[in-house]
Symmetry: C2
Subunit: 457 residues, 2 copies
Amino acid sequence: MGDVAQRLAEIVGESHLLTGDGIPEDYSGDEALTGTPTTPRYVVKPATAEEVAAVLTTASDHRIPVTARGSGTGLSAAAQPHPDGILVSFERMNAVLEIDTVNHVAVVQPGVTLSELDEKTASSGLGYTVYPGEMSASVGGNVGTNAGGMRAVKYGVTRNNVLGLQAVLPTGEIIRTGGKIVKTSTGYDLTQLIIGSEGTLALATEVIVKLHPRLRHGATVLAPFSDLDRVMAAVPAIVSSGLAPHILEYIDALTMAAITYNADLALGIPDEVRDASQAYLVVGLENRDAERLGGDTAELGELLTGLGAADVYVLEGTAARKLIEAREKAFWTAKSAGADDVIDVVVPRSAMPEFLSRSRELATKTESGVVGCGHAGDGNVHLAIFQKDKEKRASLLHDVFALGMELGGVISGEHGIGRAKKERFVELEDPAKVALLRRLKQAFDPAGILNPGVLFD
Amino acid sequence: MGDVAQRLAEIVGESHLLTGDGIPEDYSGDEALTGTPTTPRYVVKPATAEEVAAVLTTASDHRIPVTARGSGTGLSAAAQPHPDGILVSFERMNAVLEIDTVNHVAVVQPGVTLSELDEKTASSGLGYTVYPGEMSASVGGNVGTNAGGMRAVKYGVTRNNVLGLQAVLPTGEIIRTGGKIVKTSTGYDLTQLIIGSEGTLALATEVIVKLHPRLRHGATVLAPFSDLDRVMAAVPAIVSSGLAPHILEYIDALTMAAITYNADLALGIPDEVRDASQAYLVVGLENRDAERLGGDTAELGELLTGLGAADVYVLEGTAARKLIEAREKAFWTAKSAGADDVIDVVVPRSAMPEFLSRSRELATKTESGVVGCGHAGDGNVHLAIFQKDKEKRASLLHDVFALGMELGGVISGEHGIGRAKKERFVELEDPAKVALLRRLKQAFDPAGILNPGVLFD
């Protein structure tokens, strides 16, 4: 056993250090379709922030790359380890430390999954509102990517719902940022800087998340439209109405066919309506009062009809739940359909029709396929890319990302850059900004140990 | 005219450069009670981001301190210029560039005031929801301090309502961050890092702010309580109820007397109720529907009574507006009453009673007075400090800030650290964090020109 292994074993305990053939394949990457499975030299499973700090100090001393891993559900290969590096798996730091019903926060360790957090908060009448579509994802991983998901249209993304962190700096210090407070104007906001940094600046060892009252009554409304432009024109009208939907999704006809087929889901849409519909809008409403929900649902129906919906279906219990679940599993549907990549450009929502139609033109030009769905309220477009040839795909992605940026958007709304998109990111982003990001990285991590090769090289 | 003055005149035009006796007193500071009025060497009034960039490049070349100024309404002396420095006044960059009703954003220059933005958005049915209590404040200044205010309990603070920036780096580059989008996971979030940095990292030259639908119907409910503990116990119950108040303020008896006296405001509270009340809760509700608002108001009344309110008053039009305005002017009331400082510690809302009672004890020990009001929903406590002796006051502030931090809070919720609180900040904050903030400052501003002496020396 080498010096480093010896030291790591001392820190986390011998049974929580894996090396060589003792490392299961699962640790070799995340769910990014374009990742390169890579076995790290060491896997450590710390139990405390102090252990994480000791691991990072050791890594800094020996200049060993460190990659953090929550549940490994990321889509940008940010949790793909370095072959000479240490993978820090947070699987043992999986406790919900506190559910504070006075301040409406929960304090959790990074390895807690969203489904565990959901279960543990249920009886309090409060809940964590970030639903990136994969309930086995960890809170720590969500912090790393600034995860979003469907309910962001009402509740915001991870960065809007994390109030504070305990985090370990690559230099080994344990710091606390923010707190059980929603306001702070006391120095630069380190909480916000660490969120979305994909494990390159600091490792979160505790997360204070906001909880919201669970509204007891919900309805899911499905509206088919003849074309996507009409769907997009409907979105601002719905947002302006004050109905405050917590879900506002579009699904193109092909994706709808695929996800309903995969979920064995009958929506009761007559053939002639379905055949004439190129796109669907799914709107979720919720209220603490059943009667008000009924009023809102009726109002939404009238609004949708006025906006050109071919029909309006209020989905009941099982069908509604199944459709939302199927939509959340769209990634898996795309994967099983043989998609070669999935991307999640975000543009101003007014630019979605242009982004979609020009993306399709770009795809046609490279003989590729794109189908998709997305968070219509957010302008966050999820496209599955079908193109086996790596160079053609890289060129298509470059053009699609450039298009998104030209329209005022960014490359990724919630998946992150990771390893998967870093070449495109560095190529397309303003060099002055990339240079500044590198200086910030250097300010946190002078030895360059945290997730090198993620975001930029 | 020296070389620098010559160059600055070339950049902004001679008529937009002030020097020496040509600099009006107003530019010598902001509204911080403990500021030291200081005339800068130069005042420049740029008209474009390019002019700001040229000014910063000149300043970097000559290592001249630069302080940015919006409306000068700050309370932490962050806009107090350096005697050898350049004051960049954004008064000419005061255009609302765009009100985008599809994406629900406005794009504004930093010198736009909140009242101008409110007027210009009114006809769209949308509005900007950050109300720090001073409508002459500028959006750029709000970005600098991460301004909060009363409606933060529902709508969040500046950082939750700014989606993107155009900003000039001290090294002279003009960058754009974020956009008309609410999701991004594409590199470190520079928008969030610049917000609240009090002019020390970059100067915002354009701000993209979120707009929300204006809800047409509103009610203001006033509830006197026998003591502050009961007020505080009522707060989580109101938040949990799902009534989603947009205002949730407490006002202590002395502050209530002062602000109503100053505003010549009769609230119709019988003497015996007033005499038995040590604290008041003010709750604002709003709804797009008048009938629902009525229902909510009735429900709130019952809830408050059950929570121990001595009585419940639904304030009508003028009285309601006047009370909120008077509350917003609490700073001016404190100032005219001879307060020696005002502070705005934020603690978890559950810790407010303890923070307040122990703050009073600390004040008594140093023969000082503290009276206050605050954002009960946020745990943001505004205290007016009465203590003429500078050393005693510094010692009291140290102890009150330390108490706030001990209870899980931070020194300032919305006023910022500025020059006014930097000694206490550096003294009390974790040295590892201060060192990291200094490295971040260095990454943005290697020449150290932006607002030196603010946050830390």
